[in-house]
């Protein structure tokens, strides 16, 4: 085990896979000589050279299109979109081309590619640089979606995404870049599609993702300490494939479900989890299912406002407490 930052785990996972497979290449803006604006790809250019770590112009459609063209002709390319908000500029390439081509060609075209991106809020960057777009990607058949919450998962899931035969969107959470944690030594790969029960509990299930996981864990501790509520916390880790069974099993035990997400109120991934349980776990439930989300607003830049917008530990605690109280 080595201690590593979430940021460091990204470059380490990419290096691990580039060492292993010469068809892995990386392109994006300022990722090469400069090592990326968030220093996520530092050292890769020096180690693997300009043919494998390539700087691009500001041309997100060309970046993502090129990644697709390379993937269909024998490479395993990784494209970086500096901020996840920029997916909007190249959404056609992602949803109409990459996501649909295997199906449209009845399996003739394989697209083993990764699109990595800095996702989420917390850095006071304002509405156009702080979004959480994992829910956009989740709604598109043909994409897989990964959003790790800690360095070990960042490393393991990114490596798995690079090896995966399908297009994978990897959401790297900006607020977690400096987070430190243990990462197993040796080749570390974590299968896509397995949620992690990060805290076991019997009274309520809290489903979270990425930067909301540490908050959910902290909230669960507070709920136990202050209110005697023993919550189970599930880190989804990947939205697609979704570990639906982990959620259903947990709800079967706890009978109460909460989701904690950075997405704006309407149409976030939480709604999908709720819908799954409202259909398949309905008879286990004994309280309303409550989503804890950002309000349905663009994200504000001022620190106090941004902090108010994103779900807090206090909001999780009070929502769970109130819902369980009312259900009694």
């Amino acid at each position: 085990m080595a201690e590593m930052t979430y940021r460091g785990a990204i470059a380490a996972a990419i290096a691990q896979e580039m060492d292993r497979d010469p068809s892995v290449v990386l392109i994006g803006e300022d990722i090469g000589a400069a090592g990326g604006v968030f220093k996520l790809t530092e050292g890769l250019f020096d180690r693997f050279g300009p043919e494998r770590v390539r700087d691009t112009p500001i041309s997100e459609q060309a970046i993502v299109g090129a990644v697709m063209g390379a993937a269909m002709t024998g490479l395993r390319p990784i494209g970086e979109l500096m901020f996840s908000d920029f997916f909007a500029v190249t959404w056609d390439m992602v949803v109409n081309q990459i996501a649909k081509t295997r199906y449209m060609t009845d399996g003739q075209v394989a697209l083993p590619l990764v699109l990595r991106t800095a996702n989420g809020a917390g850095l006071r960057f304002g509405a156009q640089h702080s979004q959480s777009i994992e829910n956009w990607a989740m709604a598109i058949p043909g994409l897989k979606v990964v959003a790790p919450s800690n360095p070990a998962d960042m490393h393991g899931l990114l490596a798995a995404a690079i090896r995966d035969p399908d297009p994978v969107i990897v959401c790297e959470h900006k607020a977690l870049f400096a987070l430190k944690g243990e990462v197993p030594d040796g080749e570390h790969v974590t299968p896509l599609g397995e949620a992690a029960i990060v805290r076991a509990g019997g009274d309520a299930t809290i489903v979270a993702l990425a930067a909301m996981v540490p908050r959910a864990v902290e909230a669960a501790a507070a709920l136990a300490a202050e209110h005697g509520i023993d919550a189970e916390v599930i880190d989804l880790r990947t939205l697609i494939p979704l570990d639906a069974q982990a959620i259903l099993r947990s709800v079967a035990k706890t009978s109460r479900l909460f989701t904690v997400e950075e997405n704006p109120r309407v149409g976030g991934w939480g709604a999908e989890i709720v819908s799954l349980v409202a259909e398949e776990g309905f008879y286990s439930l004994d309280a309303p299912i409550v989503r804890i989300t950002t309000p349905h607003i663009p994200l504000p830049s001022a620190s106090v406002l941004e902090d108010l917008a994103i779900p807090t530990v206090e909001r999780i605690v009070s929502t769970v407490k109130r819902t369980l109280d009312e259900a009694k």
Binding site: Q61, N96, T101, T105, D106
Partner: protein, 340 residues
């Protein structure tokens, strides 16, 4: 087959050697005869959804395909039947795809706008204007990285030169010296709108070449020999590592934009003058002037007619896709499961 230019001065003899000439002719006729039949079948209701025919533009497809290596890549648009045929994809699965049958090239999942045959280097037909230019660049980048010597050829229309993806792909291809040839088939119209009405320059592709440090190249897209020559030069250049080209081929679609569009927004004399320059009879005359007999050419036509008829019979006889394929091939495991 009558020759539309008979009334004019006699055709000069074809310059290309006989085998190549016959092959270019054959490919153009394959395109023409298959599409002509497909249009009839659209009106019969057998071809469903939509079709975008390239009747009149066959010389571009044939000229380029004839200059490509077997492992080179073709990227084209919804108006992609010609390019798919030109790469040697058999007719029966193409027609079956247009009918939406299980034996279709894409199992009935893609349709007319998405013809693809990876084994023939036909890397897809793309229906969002401009999207495939960056994708073709990506294939070229891959070939460059793999040092495979392959070239990607990317076909698109005049209207496509005004969308952002065009610009991004051209710039990045030029910076990377990627082995890709961008071919604008300037058929004068973006759907129902004359290209000049929505474009800030007279030659939508050629007048943009300098913006990417490239030479402006214009070719008579109805002259299959001229196309073949330009294609050979550009492909050789790409293969040699000298980077991309942008070629504007001037041509015309004889019919409407798609489906049942009669193309009435076009002046009659414009249509007539372009039909008089139909690439197929024009090239036929040249071949004859170079000594190919009418009988040889008629035999080619007949063989193709028979192929089309056989393909149609096969496609008609093919079953509709069954419900079991509805949810296959979303992901690489062959299925559509997104959860456990």
């Amino acid at each position: 087959m009558t020759n539309a230019s008979e009334a004019a001065s006699p055709a000069p003899p074809a310059r290309v050697e006989r085998a190549l000439g016959l092959s270019l002719y054959r490919v153009m006729q394959q395109c023409r005869l298959l599409e002509t039949r497909a249009q009839e079948l659209f009106f019969e209701g057998l071809v469903r959804g939509t079709t975008h025919l390239g009747i009149g533009q066959e010389a571009v497809a044939a000229g380029f395909a004839g200059a490509m290596r077997a492992d080179d890549y073709t990227f084209c648009t919804y108006r992609g039947h010609n390019h798919t045929i030109a790469r040697g994809v058999p007719m029966a699965p193409i027609l079956a795809e247009l009918f939406g049958r299980a034996t279709g090239l894409l199992g009935g999942k893609g349709g007319s706008m998405h013809l693809t045959s990876v084994e023939h280097g036909a890397m897809g037909s793309y229906a969002i204007v401009g999207a495939h230019l960056p994708i073709a660049l990506g294939a070229a980048w891959s070939a460059q990285y793999r040092k495979s010597g392959q070239v990607a050829v990317c076909f698109f229309g005049d209207g496509t030169t005004n969308i952002g993806a065009f610009h991004e792909a051209l710039n990045m291809a030029a910076v990377w010296k990627a082995p890709v040839v961008f071919v604008c088939e300037n058929n004068q119209y973006m759907e129902y709108t004359p290209i000049g009405a929505v474009t800030s320059v007279a030659r939508p592709a050629a007048d943009r070449a300098a913006a990417y440090g490239l030479e402006p190249i214009v070719v008579d897209g109805n002259d299959v020999e001229a196309v073949h020559a330009v294609a050979t030069t550009a492909i050789d250049r790409a293969r040699a590592g000298d980077g991309p080209s942008l070629i504007e081929a001037l041509t015309y679609r004889h019919g409407g934009h798609s489906r049942a569009d009669p193309g009435k927004y076009r002046p009659d004399d414009e249509v007539a003058s372009w039909k008089a320059r139909d690439p197929i009879p024009a090239f036929r005359s040249r071949l004859e002037a170079a000594g190919v007999t009418a009988a040889d050419l008629d035999a080619i036509d007949e063989a193709i007619r028979a192929d089309v008829a056989a393909a149609e019979a096969e496609a008609r006889a093919a079953p509709e896709p069954g419900p079991e394929v509805l949810e296959t091939q979303v992901w690489a495991d062959g299925g559509s499961s997104w959860r456990n």
